[in-house]
């Protein structure tokens, strides 16, 4: 399928699945002749309509099940829904098993929900950028609610979650001390707390625990709700949906927020630019290395070597 960036962009605006899928591939892969960038440039004006919901939490909490149920319910309420799921790659082989999809498989086809799995290989910056771009593509294609599921609560996740309007942090009873460790960071980013597996022992205590911590944290205008879910009986999901919609309208009302978001987008794009250039520089420099022998003989430290190389290539920038 040989298409131009403009053809793909037209396809995206028309909601064509093949164009959407292909575009996401192109933003993931820097080898493409038609860069993802050209596509994003073309469609950007059509973005801004989607409500972007980030869902995060420690492994084992049941995020995929929650997202499966949630997305079906949102779809049933008449909105087009897309899901982006990020799975961890092996640090050793760089391969990954993109297992999140299986949890929702039966609902995806049946309810017409678009889902795309991304693996977290390579630099976290790269993943962050591709996820942002994938969200923009889906936004321009008319998906009204885009759910982004991240693995855990590391830096990469926080970067990705930064693009969401609403962030729901999911926890479950029985996670014990692990919660304490993550809580600090999560308290700052959460718009909504979810306690899943409410039928389990310790669920009410877990809820209480979060509510108490919230009571101690200074909160602004938005009062962070804590929603208990039973993913088997679907109890709590209506409440969750309402909390999400409430927060979405709260956040999107604000012009200040819009400016802040754009600021973040530009910053992220700048970092992507810099990263590209730095990578190119490094590659160029490494391939141009000739006189390493003498440096090795004279025990010159790597920093000195690097400074010399970059000065000769970049000049005196910083």
């Amino acid at each position: 399928m040989k298409q131009t960036a403009e053809e793909i962009a037209d396809g995206i605006r028309a909601g064509n699945i093949r164009s959407i899928s292909r575009a996401i591939t192109l933003v993931e892969d820097n080898n493409s002749l038609i860069t993802g960038r050209e596509i994003i440039k073309s469609i950007y004006k059509s973005t801004g309509n989607a409500g972007i919901i980030g869902i995060t939490g420690p492994p084992g909490v049941g995020k995929s099940t929650i997202i499966g149920n949630l997305s079906s319910m949102i779809r049933a309420s008449g909105k087009k829904v897309a899901v982006i799921a990020i799975d961890a790659s092996s640090p050793f082989t760089n391969g990954s098993f993109l297992g999140n999809r299986i949890r929702m498989q039966d609902k995806l086809y049946r309810d017409g929900i678009y889902m795309r799995s991304l693996s977290s290989r390579g630099s976290s910056g790269g993943l962050s950028r591709s996820t942002w771009d994938a969200v923009r593509i889906l936004d321009a294609a008319g998906y009204e609610r885009i759910i982004v599921e991240t693995v855990g609560a590391g830096q990469a996740d926080l970067d990705i979650l930064g693009m969401a309007h609403t962030i729901a942090v999911a926890l479950a009873p029985g996670l014990g001390d692990e919660i304490q460790a993550i809580k600090a960071g999560l308290m700052e980013i959460a718009s909504i707390f979810i306690i899943n597996k409410m039928d389990r022992d310790g669920a009410f205590m877990a809820m209480k625990d979060i509510e108490d911590s919230l009571a101690l944290t200074p909160q602004n205008e938005w009062k962070i709700p804590v929603v208990g879910l039973n993913s088997i009986t679907l109890e709590g999901y209506e409440e969750l949906m309402a909390a999400i919609e409430n927060h979405l309208s709260y956040v999107r009302k604000s012009a200040l927020n819009a400016k802040k978001r754009f600021f973040h987008e530009v910053k992220a794009a700048l970092m992507a630019e810099s990263e590209l250039r730095i990578n190119a520089l490094t590659e160029k420099s490494m391939s141009g290395l000739t006189d390493l022998e003498s440096d090795v003989r004279n025990k010159v430290d790597p920093y000195t070597v690097a400074e010399e190389i970059s000065k000769s290539v970049l000049g005196d920038i910083a």
Partner: protein, 569 residues
């Protein structure tokens, strides 16, 4: 927090107390003879599927004093040497060849062929649509009808399948799980039509749904729904069809999915214990139903490991039924089992080699004390068995029985230092698994969280890597392989099966009493909603009015939905 000690951890403690100080004579031999010999076993690894390292020699010192008590005599607790006092001297194992393909007519012909050639028990394989509760007319059945077993969509198919076969005179094993209750109802309906009373019918439905969730993946509904149906079959048959085995608690599939022998042993028995608890919870006394529980094990290629596994299985079952579940009747403690030689070990390369593999595996089953045996055909890595191949497989059993002499005495390997040591070791590892499973919340919960499945997937992957690295040999595959092998003739299932089955189904649908069907399905649905009601009479009623397998299964689908397994990889 001090954990209350469980039945399993107590048992484990006792097993580990066994004296393992070693045999001083062995030590002498090792330093003075073996270590000086050095003819090439250095650096080689000797192990089995369970990862148990195998020594070069086993001696009396490898077994401790109370061996007699735990080996005992055949026909008495703990039945290590066999469940009957005379085993095959009294009666040979049942030669039961798994068969089924195409149309009911085709299978009926194959059954009669096998009976004519000396098979003593019938065993029926069903096709994928039937196994999953779909009619042959379903779109998803396209290309699958009759392919890996016989297609049965309505009672009419069952009637054709057993045409000319007296259900009062044969023993029939039906390998069916998710819709087992439906097929059992059909069998009972056919018996009724033949005038055979229910208390005369003899046979088995596999029905073991726990192993489906673990290994074979042929389920329709969530676990609780299937388990309720098993309970209903258990209660109904205990009261009305006492010669019918309503469950065959299976390890075969668990092994084929990649488990080791110890995992097969442990997970199968853990499933068995769950069914015992189910019967007890249903209000039956253990001795009323436990004698009817039967098992189905794999016999794979590592000869002694398989024999030890089967002996350990008997001992564990007897011990646990007696000490944990309070069984008093000896027959509750007797683990009866069917064995099938391992399909996984068959290779498509050099298919005739499979005859040897099947022979070794069959011998292990006999020396392990199986009650009935199926031997695979040599062409089964390619397709369903051809007539020629299935005859060789049957003859394999007959030659073992009549010519080899291994069936002339009970448990001939009893007392072998190696076999007794291996039996003990596998028993110990099984108890270790029972303990872990209990800590995981019991077998059903362990399945729901994917613990059992992950254990199996890991073992399977490790094994595959070993094969790729040449650490484990498959003759003809990664050693002694040949280029350009000549093709063999294999069985082809024609499309005709699909056409004729669909035609029969539409005839049945057109000619049945629509009101009668509708009412019977409504009654069945009401019964399904009430967990305290036994579904069996409603199932029989439904199949007798010629409701289809899909119509019946759809009631459950509507009421309870399906089940998604957790992520295993």
């Amino acid at each position: 927090m001090v954990e209350p000690s469980s039945f399993w951890s107590e048992k484990l403690k006792k097993l580990e107390e066994r004296d393992k100080s070693g045999d001083p004579q062995y030590k002498k031999w090792k330093t003075e003879v073996l270590d000086l010999w050095n003819h090439g076993s250095e650096g080689k690894e000797f192990t089995n599927s369970s990862g148990i390292p195998i020594k070069e020699l086993y001696v009396p010192g490898d077994l401790d004093g109370d061996l007699n008590e735990r080996v005992g005599f055949p026909g008495t607790f703990p039945f290590t040497r066999g469940i009957y006092p005379d085993m095959y001297r009294g009666r040979l194992w049942t030669m039961r060849m798994f068969s089924g393909f195409g149309t009911p007519e085709d299978t009926n012909r194959r059954l009669k062929y096998l009976i004519q050639h000396g098979e003593s028990g019938l065993s029926i394989a069903f096709d994928m649509p039937t196994l999953y509760g779909y009619d042959c007319s379903n779109e998803r059945a396209e290309g699958e009808v009759g392919k890996c077993g016989v297609n049965v969509s309505t009672l009419k198919d069952m009637e054709v399948l057993f045409d000319g076969i007296d259900l009062g005179k044969v023993s029939t094993s039906m390998t069916i799980n998710a819709p087992a209750i439906v097929l059992l109802a059909m069998y009972m309906a056919v018996a009724k039509k033949q005038g055979v009373p229910l208390d005369r019918i003899s046979g088995t439905v596999q029905a073991d749904i726990l192993k489906e969730y673990i290994a074979q993946k042929e389920w329709i509904f969530p676990p609780e729904v299937h388990l309720r149906m098993i309970r209903d079959m258990m209660v109904f048959c205990t009261e009305n069809a006492p010669r019918w085995n309503y469950i065959s608690i299976s390890g075969y599939h668990i092994r084929e999915a990649g488990a080791s022998a110890v995992q097969e042993l442990a997970f199968t028995l853990a499933d068995g214990f769950h069914y015992v608890e189910m019967g007890l919870n249903a209000g039956l006394s253990v001795d009323a139903f436990a004698p009817r529980l039967s098992f189905f094990f794999n016999s794979s290629i590592n000869f002694f490991e398989e024999i030890a596994k089967m002996r350990a299985a008997r001992r564990i079952w007897a011990t646990v039924l007696k000490e944990k579940y309070g069984a008093r009747n000896q027959r509750s403690m007797m683990l009866k089992f069917h064995t099938q030689t391992s399909g996984y070990t068959l290779t498509w390369q050099q298919p005739l080699n499979n005859i040897i593999r099947t022979t070794i595996e069959a011998m292990a089953g006999v020396l392990g004390g199986t009650q009935s045996l199926h031997t695979n055909s040599y062409d089964e890595a390619w397709a369903l068995p051809s007539e020629k191949a299935v005859k060789v497989a049957l003859r394999t059993q007959q030659i073992i029985a009549e010519e080899s002499g291994i069936a002339d005495t009970v448990d001939p390997l009893g007392g072998s230092y190696y076999v007794e040591w291996l039996t003990d070791e596998m028993e110990r590892q099984a108890y270790s698994y029972f303990d872990r499973i209990e800590k995981a919340g019991g077998i059903l919960n362990a399945i729901k969280i994917g613990y059992i499945q992950k254990e199996i997937a890991n073992t399977s992957y490790k094994r595959q890597l070993r094969i790729e690295e040449g650490k484990e040999i498959m003759v003809g595959v990664n050693k002694y392989a040949e280029e350009n092998e000549p093709p063999i003739k294999i069985l082809r299932i024609s499309k005709k099966a699909q056409l004729s089955q669909r035609k029969r189904l539409s005839d049945v649908l057109a000619s049945r009493d629509q009101d009668k069907v509708r009412r019977s399905l409504e009654r069945l649905e009401d019964a399904m909603k009430d967990e305290s009601i036994n579904l069996m009479p409603y199932m029989i009623d439904a199949v007798e009015s010629y409701a289809t397998i899909e119509e019946i299964s759809n009631i459950g689908r509507r009421l309870y939905g399906g089940w998604k397994e957790p992520v295993i990889v």
